[in-house]
């Protein structure tokens, strides 16, 4: 059950409020985008789902399981989710195969299973010829595909994306958007996608959360957001 | 662990081993203990290897009036701190093994300043690491005696000693160091140089080309200062300060003498003799016409309460040996003079003690001990500071 539920989640650093009372339920297989300008709290929200930040108050559930709450905190390594970072975060000292195989190795899966799953993913990503290549020899797009493969290989059902395409050129970005969408359909995974790029959000999402200064401004399908912006901020943002 | 408890049982009770109650960091107690475990293991290893036999002879020497035990009777371990040369320490160790086949003698050899600060820190911790001291001059012995660190032993032949000793037996002179002048005959003529300690400080043509040891770090240099202060007064040091004499260690001074950077240096006779014998050096000694400063260095036994191995019987036997003619032979091999009036051997290229004593500037050891701070400050004000 790859649903994600945020109940009354707030986050403060010192005296400054980053997230104001975030309530949401992301359905299984849904493509959710957190959209907003930089500093709006979208990345913080994503990192709270991943477990890199603890919410100040409120609860987060993954499936039925509470992963964050007043007396509960499941660290990221035990949440079993995949994540793609803006800076790729491909480990420079491991080759492509080892990068992608890492989540399986750490969970002590049998060797044969690791071989099979990694090969499948690499084929899916078009990286079959690069198994033994070191990341520094790869292009930016290829590096991001390695990161994507690594996030998908453990089949966790949830993929978190933190502006994964912002370092790529426009053409590549378009291509990757399509690929991510296809992957989502194929693997039937829930994706939470953070971006400040309206086109990306509209192109891929089932639902968009527009954020500003830690407050959700509007929730809706791309169509709803574009056609009936809820307030001035959203209106200006989509222009 | 039993073995440690045993070894330390007869030592002073105020030295607990791993006493958890006394642990300072209460909050971190458990962690600290965890960290201590490897250390304890290492201590256990050291403790059992060296100190097991330490207590055997403990009672034999309790009565200080009794004659020292014969050499083969004593056993156990004895640690000696000394500032004698490392080379002769090796020789001495062999000689001691012959004399005392059952005693395990260990030397810790370093500069007298280093040893004195090590001792001060050990006294602070309540536990000494040694049993016998062969370091520094009588003023330091007076200090240790007053602090109750020493064990008295009456040496039967004390009347043969050519120098002052402690009548209660707390310390005896064991070797004689001699502060002299030295020059380099390959670069300078002896006749052109000061022949007296007085000229050393006063001849203006020597300015900036002289060197001596630091009385703050060297006991012999300090003793020399006390002697010269008595003989010539404070004016001597004003003059010395005006000479811009370099204050530095003996080996640096000798090198400067060799290279010609210094024309004349005030230095211990032994350093020059050693260089002459070992390196065939041409450096020569000028025995000052106004007298050289003879500085006896002492031997002392640490008392039972503080000593590392509590092996008084063996310590007395060893002290006895060093003061004997046989032991004095070892001293002379180390380029130092002996202390007995009936002992005539001289170090390599050296002079007999009787001849040296004939022209000697005496040191007032009481004064050296009591007025140490004033005298040191006086020296600093006149000589060290610009």
């Amino acid at each position: 059950m790859a649903t994600i539920t945020l109940k009354n989640v707030t986050k403060s650093f010192g005296n400054s409020r980053i997230i104001e009372k975030f309530d949401a339920e992301f359905a299984d297989g849904e493509f959710i985008t957190l959209l907003g300008p930089s500093g709006c709290g979208k990345t913080t929200t994503l990192r709270m789902i991943a477990g890199f930040e603890k919410p100040t108050t409120g609860e987060i559930f993954i499936g039925d399981k509470k992963v964050s709450g007043e007396d509960t905190f499941v660290p990221p390594e035990n949440r079993n989710i995949g994540m793609v970072f803006q800076s790729y975060a491909v480990w420079p000292h491991m080759n492509v195969f080892d990068n992608v195989a890492y989540p399986l190795k750490i969970r002590k899966r049998p060797k044969a299973e690791i071989q099979e799953k990694v090969r499948n993913i690499l084929e899916e990503m078009g990286l079959s010829d690069y198994e033994k290549t070191m990341p520094s020899k790869l292009s930016g797009g290829q590096q991001q595909r390695v990161a994507l493969g690594r996030a998908l290989v453990s089949e966790s059902g949830i993929l978190l994306c933190d502006e994964p395409l912002s370092n790529l050129d426009a053409r590549l970005r378009k291509k990757m958007r399509r690929e991510i969408k296809e992957i989502q359909k194929k693997y039937a995974i829930t994706i939470v996608y953070v971006t400040h790029d309206l086109t990306e959000a509209v192109d891929m999402s089932d639902r968009i959360f527009v954020l500003n200064e830690g407050v959700v401004q509007q929730v809706g399908t791309p169509k709803e957001i574009l056609e009936t912006p809820a307030n001035d901020f959203v209106r200006e943002f989509i222009f | 662990m039993d073995e440690i408890a045993y070894t330390f049982a007869d030592n002073s009770a105020n030295v607990p081993m791993v006493n958890e109650e006394e642990f300072i960091m209460n909050k971190k107690k458990i962690l600290s203990i965890l960290l201590t475990i490897p250390m304890i293991i290492s201590m256990a290893a050291c403790g059992s290897s060296g100190q097991g036999a330490g207590s055997e002879g403990g009672n034999a020497g309790a009565d200080s009036q009794a004659p020292a035990a014969t050499n083969s009777e004593v056993s156990g371990k004895v640690v000696i701190y000394t500032s004698m040369y490392e080379d002769i320490v090796d020789e001495m160790q062999k000689a001691l093994k012959k004399q005392f086949p059952n005693v395990d003698v260990e030397f810790f050899q370093s500069g007298s300043g280093t040893i004195q600060s090590k001792i001060a820190a050990e006294m602070e911790s309540g536990k000494m690491g040694c049993d016998i001291l062969m370091v520094a001059e009588p003023s330091y012995s007076l200090e240790l005696k007053e602090q109750g660190m020493l064990h008295p032993y009456i040496y039967p032949e004390a009347d043969k000693l050519a120098f002052e000793y402690d009548k209660e037996g707390y310390w005896y002179p064991v070797r004689t160091l001699n502060m002299v002048l030295a020059y380099n005959p390959e670069l300078n003529n002896k006749e052109d140089l000061p022949q007296t300690l007085k000229d050393f400080a006063e001849r203006e043509d020597m300015k900036g080309q002289l060197s001596m040891s630091n009385p703050l770090t060297s006991g012999t240099a300090y003793s020399t200062v006390v002697a010269l202060l008595d003989k010539y007064g404070e004016d001597y040091f004003k003059a010395l300060g005006a000479q811009n004499v370099a204050i530095e260690s003996g080996s640096v001074a000798l090198t400067k003498l060799e290279t010609g950077e210094c024309k004349e240096i005030m230095i211990l006779e032994e350093s020059v003799l050693k260089k002459r014998e070992e390196e065939g050096s041409a450096l020569e000694i000028i025995y000052p016409e106004d007298g050289s400063v003879l500085i006896p260095s002492t031997i002392m036994i640490i008392d039972e309460a503080h000593s590392a191995n509590n092996n008084i019987a063996a310590c007395e036997a060893i002290e006895d040996y060093y003061l004997s003619v046989e032991g004095q032979k070892q001293i002379v091999k180390g380029w130092m003079n002996g202390v007995r009036s009936d002992f005539t051997e001289v170090p390599y290229d050296g002079r007999p003690i009787s001849e040296l004593l004939a022209n000697n500037i005496p040191v007032d050891w009481e004064k050296a001990y009591k007025q140490r701070d004033e005298i040191r400050t006086m020296f600093q004000e006149y000589v060290t500071v610009e």
């Binding site: 660290p75 590096q143 | 030295v15 965890l34 260990e106 030397f107 911790s125």
Partner: protein, 560 residues
């Protein structure tokens, strides 16, 4: 996975262990010593401090220390920055060779190097002085080593490698696109250097300068040889004076003076935290990049010549002097004078049983100190850079204070507290030396690891964490491999000074734990300069071989 279960993060256990180690073996002994200097006859009193700091000679020592250490810091950085840039980021000829050469100074005991300079530049018969006098027909020697200037010169030539190592490491890891951006805006390479590289490097430069400051201020060997004959005394020489008196009060006096150096370290860290931490540019991301190399063009040959001259004067000349000394029978004559070459000193050092044993002890204690030190550094750097724990800067501070504390003070505080009085007795074992070495020399290791960690994007570790790796796995699989070249370098930076450490070993050794530094001290003080020079040359050769071997083993990834 239980929802209600609280997850215990094992990293805190490790952190607590390391912190406890620092508390027991560093904080407690030093605090004990400091507290002692404030207590007279069982009462708190400022009398001792007042007396010490109102004494004229001591004040002039404070002044001398501040002047020489600050000047060494300035010159050290002024020398190190261009060298690091030329060696790290340009097409200078023989870059690798120069790099090794500049780091070599770090491997020589300062005491021995000071003797070399004394021989070259003393005003009476200094070899270089005499040479220059003849060359230019001067009537007087051009240089006098026994002056503030001389002291600063020797301190600078010995401690600029600290700055060089720190700056060149940062420089090689800088994101080249920042400089490329400047070039594309029309700035020349030199303009880029001053408008982009220099400001970006500022935090590293400040850190490097402060390292030099702390090292120069707490150095004893150089001022004792160069300063004392010229009546220039520093805090450290005064402390040793007080210590050698050997009485209880004089120990207090020594500590009261040492407190000053601790305060200097404190200020240093405060300053670096405020200038460096606030501008912590993370310049290396998860992307793999290589710094761009600046083409020096027509300046390539002149600059190579300039760097060669510098290397000759600062590195080759003093080392050649030390080396030649080790073969010279009579120091009054040239080594090449007939019959004056001898191998006797080398024979002494390779045949002495005690030297062979001491070498073994030195290797063991230096390896232990470097290894344990790096463990402490890695965990404390991780604590500093990767956690939000309260007071995470404190261990970093402690490590800096330790390094700023004069060696002799560290040794005495350990004897007083670690010989059974407080339940721990490691006196007369090798561990007391290991602990002392760690306190004194962990700083360079810590700086190295901190620099490495701050240049690795946290997302690399987060990616492992989200992949399911716990703290230990993350450390093993990601963090450690990525910082390994720096960690090895840091290990070496701790190992080398420990290998020939002299002041502390001399107080802490027992008969079974004699080290090379003790031998060196004994030969230096009681025997001849020649034997000491032979031993120092031997140490240098050994460390150089080790350095080359490490470089080969890590396929060139490792460099200091």
């Amino acid at each position: 996975m239980e929802t209600k279960k609280r997850y215990f993060d094992i990293k805190w256990l490790f952190m607590a262990l390391v912190v406890a180690f620092l508390l027991v073996f560093q904080v407690f002994p030093l605090l004990y010593l400091v507290a002692r200097s404030f207590i007279s006859d069982g009462h708190f009193s400022l009398e001792g401090i007042k007396r010490i700091y109102s004494y004229g000679l001591n004040l002039s020592c404070l002044k001398n220390t501040l002047i020489t250490a600050s000047l060494s810091m300035v010159f050290g950085v002024v020398i190190a920055f261009p060298l690091a840039w030329l060696v790290g980021r340009t097409n200078l000829y023989g870059k690798k060779f120069f790099r090794t050469l500049f780091v070599t100074t770090y491997m020589v005991p300062p005491y021995v190097g000071a003797m070399a300079w004394l021989r070259l530049l003393n005003p009476t018969v200094g070899t270089l002085n005499v040479f220059l006098q003849k060359l230019f027909g001067l009537s007087a020697a051009p240089f006098n080593i026994y002056s503030i200037g001389g002291l600063v010169w020797v301190l600078t030539t010995f401690y600029y490698p600290y700055a060089f190592i720190t700056i060149s490491r940062a420089m090689e890891k800088m994101d080249p696109s920042l400089e490329e951006a400047s070039r594309s805006c029309g700035a020349s390479p030199v303009a880029t250097l001053f408008t982009v590289t220099l400001p970006l490097m500022l935090p590293s430069i400040v850190a490097a300068g402060l390292l030099v400051l702390v090292a120069a201020a707490s150095c004893y060997g150089i001022p004792s040889i160069i300063g004392a004959p010229g009546k220039i005394y520093t805090i450290t020489t005064r402390i040793v004076d007080y210590v050698s008196v050997g009485s209880r009060e004089s120990l207090s006096d020594a500590t009261s003076l040492a407190v000053f150096l601790m305060i200097v370290s404190f200020i240093v860290l405060y300053v670096s935290n405020f200038t460096v931490a606030k501008k912590d540019y993370i310049v290396v991301s998860g992307k793999s990049t290589k710094p761009s190399i600046v083409d020096l063009g027509k300046w390539r040959i002149p600059l190579t010549i300039l760097v060669s001259i510098f290397a000759f004067i600062v590195v080759v000349l003093p080392f050649a002097t030390v080396f030649a000394t080790s073969f010279t029978m009579n120091m009054g004559k040239s080594v090449f004078a007939p019959g004056n070459i001898t191998f006797k000193y080398w024979n002494t050092i390779v045949s002495r049983q005690s030297i062979i044993k001491s070498t073994g002890n030195s290797i063991i204690s230096a390896v232990l100190a470097a290894t344990l030190g790096m463990i402490v550094c890695v965990f404390m750097a991780y604590l500093l850079k990767r956690t939000a724990a309260k007071g995470k800067e404190i261990p970093d501070f402690l490590i800096t204070v330790g390094s700023g504390t004069p060696s002799v003070v560290i040794a005495l505080s350990l004897i007083m507290t670690m010989s059974g009085k407080f339940g721990i007795n490691i006196y007369n074992t090798i561990f007391i030396m290991v602990v002392a070495y760690m306190i004194k020399y962990m700083l360079m290791g810590m700086r190295t690891v901190v620099a490495a960690l701050s240049q690795i994007s946290t997302s690399l570790e987060e990616a492992a964490q989200i992949s399911g790796a716990g703290f230990l796995h993350r450390m093993r699989d990601i963090t450690l491999p990525l910082i390994l070249p720096s960690a090895v370098a840091g290990w070496f930076l701790i190992f080398m000074p420990c290998f020939y450490e002299l002041t502390m070993s001399n107080l802490l050794y027992s008969n079974n734990t004699k080290t090379l530094g003790v031998e060196l001290f004994l030969y230096q003080t009681y025997h001849s300069q020649q034997t000491a020079s032979a031993l120092a040359s031997g140490i240098l050769i050994f460390v150089l071989i080790l350095n080359v071997a490490m470089n080969k083993l890590t396929k060139g990834k490792f460099s200091i």
